[in-house]
């Protein structure tokens, strides 16, 4: 059982890392999700104990499985759910702004500004930024 869990965690983590290194942003998001699922599984496996469910009333004399790990896993699942939603939203914004899911190319835009003054000149403060980006 331990070996099986360790293998699953390793495969999930490895596959996730492989996907994360892809240029395609959706694959990258899937990779992040797989890695966070690998960790969820890892949390489960650190407290793996046989026993009755930790719900009152408890039967006397029988071991109880560790409830802390289960609550930690639940919390971790909820957090990774929220973060995945946020990550997908950001990727969607990238898609609407760049028109591609190949990942933002680092050299496309204002890296060539020579001085901080030029950089600042490109971002006038009082204009609503959203219109600017679509212009």
């Amino acid at each position: 059982m331990n070996l099986l869990l360790a293998l699953s965690v390793a495969v999930l983590f490895g596959a996730g890392t492989f996907l994360m290194l892809k240029h395609d942003l959706i694959r990258m998001a899937v990779g992040v999700l797989m890695i966070s699922n690998a960790v969820t599984l890892f949390i489960m496996s650190v407290g793996l104990s046989r026993g009755q469910a930790p719900i009152y009333p408890l039967a006397e004399g029988r071991p109880i499985s560790d409830p802390v790990v289960q609550s930690l896993t639940l919390t971790a699942i909820v957090i990774s759910f929220g973060l995945t939603a946020l990550l997908l939203t950001i990727i969607y914004r990238v898609y609407t702004l760049y028109g591609t899911l190949r990942g933002p190319d680092d050299a496309t835009q204002d890296d060539h500004a020579e001085t901080a003054g030029e950089l600042l000149a490109q971002r006038p403060r009082n204009e609503p930024p959203r219109e600017r980006s679509r212009a």
Binding site: M20, L25, M28, V32, I35, S36, V39, F42, I43, V46, G47, V68, V69, L72, T75, A76, I79, G82, L83, L86, L87, I90, I91, R93, V94, L97, Y98, P104, D106, T108, Q109, D110, A113, E114, T115, A116, G117, L119, L120, A121, R123, R125, N126, P128, P129, R130, R132, S133
Partner: protein, 455 residues
């Protein structure tokens, strides 16, 4: 008392989330709320300094079962500095004009996350607050919503999600090894564990906080993010969110895993030294002010790591003091790069002197503490390194100053008077704290005593 800053920040964040933050009065409300949070944190600090650490077990559970909230000397000073930075950045952005409705609410949510993280006594609860702060800062990084901010936010999110994953695995293995999540019980248990089992866990924790702080091998995400985000957001990220990294290294490294910290001293000093030199040299070589400041942040994180690696009361004291001074410098510099006009140049120069460690600025005391570490360790190499680091920081700071403030481009409109006065106010605060450093020195001394005594 202990819950007050947390509750105010969270309640006000929820209320502000329903309002349109672009309106002036909502911005004013957010500033008011943030001020109250800051004052509540300050009162809690006074309380902790006078009466020792405060503790509440959530839900009325017996200690050991429930989640503990604990305000001790180390956590509360970090909470105060972070809330102060958030307050300054929020005032700055409201004066400059908020662009997005969620921005003030996000700052308050970030304050909730950070205050909770610094005031928790439970490792998993630390992770939860950590994620609250990180999620909020991911959203804050998109602030502005143009191509560059979105790109920065994507890099920031993906890299820091990986960092969080490492931290979560480390917490899970700590629980596996010790059977507890309470930090005090962890401290007691971690010292008795077999060495092999806990080394990997300690590595994971180091990687997680190294990513957060932007130390040398984990720094690659930091320059594009600090360069491309809005000035106020860059100030928040470098002045408040990066504190998670230094606090985490102190809490988990110097307190819970102090034996592993001593074992890895050599590695930490070497990585810190590389960070200092790499950050400073890169800062000299890049052209834009924000990017130079981002590399400077990598270098400054290196000082904390070197002091932590040398350890002992002097080393840890210097690490704490430097970790408290550095956010103020960074906030001032990032805010000043977003502005134009007179006063701004003077404020930037004061920040630059503070980073280089020239009296009477506050940074002088950080540098003095670091030199004391070098002398206490009898290490000539370290003293030379600190001297070179300081000299290089003077060079890159005044390179920026020369490029930004000595050019007289007629096209540039000076920024609004209020925000210039605000930035000058932060500069005056740094000078004032440099002239009267006793409160800060006392607080960091007490935090050091607490950490050393906790062993």
């Amino acid at each position: 008392m202990l819950l007050l800053p947390l509750l105010i920040a969270w309640t006000m964040a929820v209320i502000l989330a329903l309002l349109d933050g672009r309106r002036r009065w909502v911005g004013g409300l957010a500033i008011g709320a943030m001020t109250v949070v800051f004052i509540a944190t300050f009162r809690l600090l006074l309380d902790v300094l006078q009466h020792g650490s405060r503790e509440i077990v959530a839900g009325g559970w017996p200690p050991g079962l429930g989640i503990t909230l604990r305000a001790d000397e180390l956590g509360i000073v970090f909470a105060l500095v972070s809330n102060g930075v958030l307050l300054i950045a929020l005032i700055y952005e409201v004066l400059e004009g908020v662009h997005e409705r969620a921005m003030p609410a996000l700052v308050l949510f970030l304050s909730t996350g950070l205050t909770g993280l610094f005031l928790t006594g439970d490792a998993f609860n630390f992770y939860v607050f950590f994620e609250i702060s990180m999620t909020t800062s991911f959203v804050l990084a998109t602030y502005g919503q143009r191509q560059r901010e979105i790109r920065a936010a994507l890099i920031f999110t993906v890299v820091n999600l990986l960092g969080s994953v490492f931290f979560l695995s480390a917490i899970a293995s700590l629980y596996h090894l010790t059977g507890t999540l309470d930090m005090r019980a962890l401290t007691a248990a971690a010292g008795t564990l077999e060495q092999n089992s806990i080394t990997l866990t300690a590595d994971f924790i180091f990687v997680a906080f190294g990513v957060k702080l932007g130390l040398f091998p984990f720094h690659f995400w930091l320059p594009p993010v600090y360069r491309d985000t809005w000035p106020a957001v860059a100030a928040i990220l470098s002045g408040a969110v990066a504190n998670i990294g230094s606090y985490g290294l102190l809490r988990f490294g110097a307190e819970i895993l102090s034996r592993e910290l001593r074992l890895s001293a050599g590695v930490l000093v070497v990585l810190g030294a590389i960070s200092i030199l790499y950050g400073a040299l890169q800062a000299i070589s890049v052209r834009t002010a924000n990017e130079a400041l981002a590399y400077s942040a990598i270098g400054q994180a290196g000082y904390i790591l070197v002091a932590l690696g040398i350890g002992g009361p002097v080393g840890i004291g210097a690490a704490i003091l430097y970790a408290l001074i550095n956010p103020l410098n960074k906030t001032l510099l990032f805010l000043a790069t977003g502005l134009r006009g007179w006063l701004v140049g003077a404020a930037f120069a004061i920040g630059a002197f503070s980073v280089a460690g020239i009296p009477p600025s506050l940074g002088f005391f950080g540098k003095v503490a670091l030199f004391q570490v070098g002398i206490a360790d009898n290490s000539v190499a370290l003293v030379i390194l600190l001297f070179i680091g300081g000299a290089l920081s003077l060079i890159y700071m005044f390179q920026i100053y020369q490029r930004v403030h000595w050019t007289t481009e007629k096209t540039e409109q000076p920024s609004s008077v209020q925000s210039r006065v605000l930035v000058m106010g932060v500069a005056v605060l740094i000078l004032a704290l440099g002239l009267w450093p006793e409160p800060l020195l006392l607080a960091s001394q007490r935090a050091t005593d607490m950490l050393i005594g906790g062993r």
